[in-house]
């Protein structure tokens, strides 16, 4: 098939400026599009990351005490609360901890393998737990054993953290022992030795922020109930379908047992779905923004191509008429404008690929972003090629309808 590239090139040479502008616009659009969509991907990739919890059936209560009490009293109160919650209809199990996954902040500490190490092997999230923790959260124990009731100690906020046993996540075990057996090994948490008694498959850290990304799934669970005058978290797992009813009943039952407490109106009682929603709010916002920017950018570029191609068609009605009169078919005319667009957007895309990589490099240096995946570049190239052809199609079809008699009219 004769692609008529020669005549198209010579025609383009006579209208360099217009072609160059469209090519530049396509190049910039491609560069921004690839990088914006890559940012969307990066932000959204966390969103579906599982925490390791039985999320559908879990809710969390933030209990804050009013008035002064000794640490022994606070612990007795907390245990009485756990009993009340456990007796509620629909509740499967209850535990208490200092924090929970996706909460935002909490206790992180350094892990070392030897007491004389100068720097930490890794950072890790610390969750305080009783013997119900693993079952309540629905964690999967892949090695060793769960805590027993006798393992659990009580710790006041100002006490030193020195548990003799811990459970770790598989991610932490792999970081420390590179696939070797973890159960029975010793790690140093905040300077004191602890033996690993169990490994759970998966449990996410409390923070999803960028600074915590390095240890997102490296977690150490300590057999301690933490008592603090500031209060504590109760984590409740219900039987399927009972979540809403139990969430309503729980605060009332706690207040009925002891009214000297408070629940924050916004954060006091949250289903895990709400916890997840809150944790990723800003990532979702950024992803939406990037998505909207990409869509509008494509629309504007498409509109620009339609506009400029229409003008070229209008400008050349007479030439088109002449070609039609000399025997060119309507297909030939459509093909002419589509090939012309292909040449122009093709060179724009070539430049755009370089620009996209340069922009990505700059984002890496300046904002610590990751390297652009080639799949995004390929997708961007495909989208812009198709967009260019689609945008040129309507004016090209209009051009093909120019009658041969146009050749005889003044232009």
């Amino acid at each position: 098939m004769d692609m008529q590239v020669g005549p198209i090139l010579s025609a383009l040479r006579r209208h360099k400026a217009g072609a160059v502008l469209i090519a530049l616009q396509i190049a910039l659009t491609l560069a921004i599009l690839c990088n914006a969509l890559f940012i969307v991907h990066q932000r959204l990739s966390h969103l579906s990351e599982p925490t390791g919890l039985d999320e559908a059936n879990i809710f969390v209560i933030q209990n804050e005490w009013v008035g002064k009490a000794s640490y022994a009293q606070l612990d007795a109160e907390a245990r009485a609360d756990l009993e009340v919650l456990r007796r509620l209809p629909g509740v499967a199990d209850v535990t208490t901890s200092n924090s929970y996954p996706l909460r935002g902040a909490g206790w992180d500490d350094g892990i070392r393998l030897h007491p004389d190490q100068l720097t930490d092997t890794t950072g890790a999230t610390v969750y305080f737990a009783d013997e119900h923790f693993v079952r309540t959260l629905g964690l999967k124990l892949v090695a060793g054993r769960d805590f027993r009731a006798g393992d659990i100690g009580v710790m006041a906020a100002q006490d030193r953290l020195d548990p003799s046993q811990v459970i770790v996540t598989r991610a932490l075990a792999d970081t420390l022992f590179h696939g070797d057996t973890a159960v029975g090994r010793t790690l140093y948490l905040a300077g004191s030795p602890a033996t690993i008694v169990g490994v759970v498959d998966r449990l996410q850290a409390q923070s999803v922020a960028r600074w915590a990304a390095d240890f997102a799934h490296r977690v150490v669970i300590v057999p301690r109930r933490l008592t603090s005058t500031l209060g504590t978290y109760y984590i409740v797992r219900t039987h399927p379908g009972q979540l809403a009813a139990a969430m309503r009943a729980a605060p009332a039952a706690l207040v009925a047992r002891n009214p000297r407490r408070m629940f924050d109106p916004r954060m006091g009682v949250l289903s895990f779905a709400q916890v997840r929603e809150r944790a990723y709010e800003s990532d979702r916002g950024m992803a939406t923004l990037m998505g909207v920017i990409s869509a509008v950018l494509l629309a504007i570029t498409a509109a620009g191509i339609v506009g400029v191609t229409s003008f070229r068609v209008g400008q050349r009605r007479r030439q088109i008429g002449v070609r039609r009169a000399l025997g060119a078919t309507r297909h030939d005319i459509v093909r002419y404008f589509l090939v012309e667009n292909l040449l122009v957007s093709g060179s724009g895309i070539l430049l755009g690929v370089l620009l996209a990589l340069a922009m990505n490099l700059w984002l890496i240096l300046r904002f610590g972003m990751q390297g652009l995946s080639p799949a995004y570049l390929a997708a961007g190239v495909a989208v812009l090629l198709l967009l260019g052809q689609a945008a040129a199609l309507a004016p090209a079809l209009r051009a093909s309808r120019v009658p041969p008699v146009e050749a005889t009219r003044a232009g």
Binding site: I32, L230, V296, V308
Partner: protein, 439 residues
């Protein structure tokens, strides 16, 4: 002459409404996106203490005695160093700050207790940072030393507890202890909350949280240490702390800010800081190598990378977006002007100079810019509204201001004139004779 060009421009624009609409829309969208992000950027990167920030400094030293030696000193001081430097009174003004939270039981029946953010500080804090008062004022230095049971509360807390009435002299209960309100702040919203800007440099650009409004309860330092022991924020500890005893804890938890009115005073204070550091080293209280710093507030904000990286990234992207919109407009204007080559040829043949053709085309581009600017302004308002709906700490301060409004229109017109310059130049080069020949 300009009136005539304007008239010609309007006629020409009306001739092809779809195309005109497209160009105006492209400019409007580009301007809307860039002005939205630029406004947020302007609001977040401004001076938190206009007219004063150059005289505010943040002295630092390394108080740790543990095995790990930091390259840069921690973002806060230990209580002993901060208190020694504060007590010396060597600066024009000086204040200590410790963040915390406290259980607040309102005096009125029917209101339930809640946790309030607190700042334990010293009396210089208020005059030093030009903090405005609606009612009353700060506690005095002599009372502060005695651990007086007095507090200053924010306008927001005053609204919540007392419905906005003058609450000076009223009592609130903090952690079971009654304290008297001596001052109520007026609206005060420094951006970022500069005196709390610690640890931001570790956040990977996630600094939105440093744009929260100030704390609700300001307590004299000794009072706070009495009634809120155990509930302060800690930056970092190098030994095992007794969490109830902040004064002797081997932890960094206190910020010290000083006001130094002249460069000479700043240099003198810097020497004093070094001397203090050396003296403490000689006494054996400090053991790490000397590592003192004294940044100005501006330097501190740059060091902490205060502006959220998402906001910077959005600003860059928005300007890339505007650039695409401009290329789009240049291409369309070029096509539009050159399509009128015949008409331009006639005008040239009838005696119009190249300059006249250039001015006429530019007037057309300017009108498009003006229309795009108005559209861009509306889109900027929409964009800022969208930012306010986002879950960010600075949502409440995001609004269009006069300089940004003027800049919007100016940017739109300047951008479209720039976009119009090249097509207008090309149009003005259309030779008269050639065009007449083809007619």
């Amino acid at each position: 002459m300009f009136g005539y060009y304007f008239d010609l421009a309007m006629r020409s624009l009306k001739r092809n409404k779809v195309l005109t609409g497209l160009m105006v829309l492209a400019i409007a969208v580009g301007i809307g996106a860039s002005m939205t992000t630029l406004t947020v950027m302007y609001l977040l990167s401004g001076d938190p203490l206009p007219g004063k920030s150059a005289r505010i400094y943040y002295p630092q030293l390394d108080p740790e005695t543990g095995a790990d030696v930091r390259k840069n000193p921690a973002d806060l001081l230990d209580y002993i160093s901060a208190h020694d430097l504060w007590q010396s009174g060597k600066a024009d003004r000086q204040t200590m700050v410790v963040f915390g939270s406290i259980k607040l039981q309102p005096g009125l029946a029917g209101q339930s207790p809640f946790m309030a953010d607190t700042l334990a500080t010293t009396s210089d804090f208020f005059p030093m940072f030009d903090v405005p008062f609606r009612y009353g004022g700060a506690w005095n230095a002599a009372d502060e030393a005695r651990g007086v049971r007095q507090v200053v509360i924010s306008d927001v807390l005053n609204q919540r507890l007392f419905g906005g009435a003058n609450s000076v002299g009223r009592t609130i209960v903090l952690n079971g202890t009654g304290v008297q309100v001596v001052g109520v702040l007026d609206h005060w919203r420094p951006r970022p909350l500069f005196y709390m800007l610690v640890g931001a440099r570790y956040s990977g650009g996630d600094t939105g949280g440093y744009y929260v409004r100030p704390q609700d309860v300001f307590l004299p330092m000794p009072t706070a240490l009495d009634i809120n022991a155990g509930n302060f924020g800690w930056f970092s500890c190098w030994g095992k702390p007794d969490r109830m005893d902040l004064r002797n804890a081997p932890c960094e938890s206190v910020g010290l800010w000083v006001q130094l009115d002249t460069a000479a005073k700043a240099a003198a204070y810097r020497r004093y800081l070094d001397a203090y550091d050396a003296q403490q080293r000689a006494l054996g209280r400090l053991s790490h190598p000397a590592n003192t710093r004294m940044m100005s507030l501006h330097e501190w904000m740059a060091y902490q990378n205060a502006v959220p990286s998402d906001v910077k990234l959005q600003t860059w992207l928005a300007f890339g977006f505007l650039l695409v919109c401009l290329f789009n407009t240049v291409g369309l204007l070029l096509a539009k002007f050159l399509r009128r080559s015949g008409e331009i040829g006639v005008r040239r043949a009838l005696g119009a100079t190249r300059g006249a053709i250039f001015a006429q085309c530019l007037a057309e581009a300017g009108v498009i810019g003006l229309l795009g600017g108005v559209g861009g302004l509306l889109l900027t308002l929409l964009g800022l509204w969208l930012v306010r709906q986002q879950p960010v700490a600075y949502a409440d301060v995001v609004a269009l201001n006069v300089p940004m409004l003027l800049l919007t229109i100016l940017l739109a017109v300047a951008a479209s004139l720039l976009a119009g310059a090249f097509p207008a130049l090309r149009a003005s080069r259309v030779p008269p004779a050639l065009q007449l020949k083809t007619l």
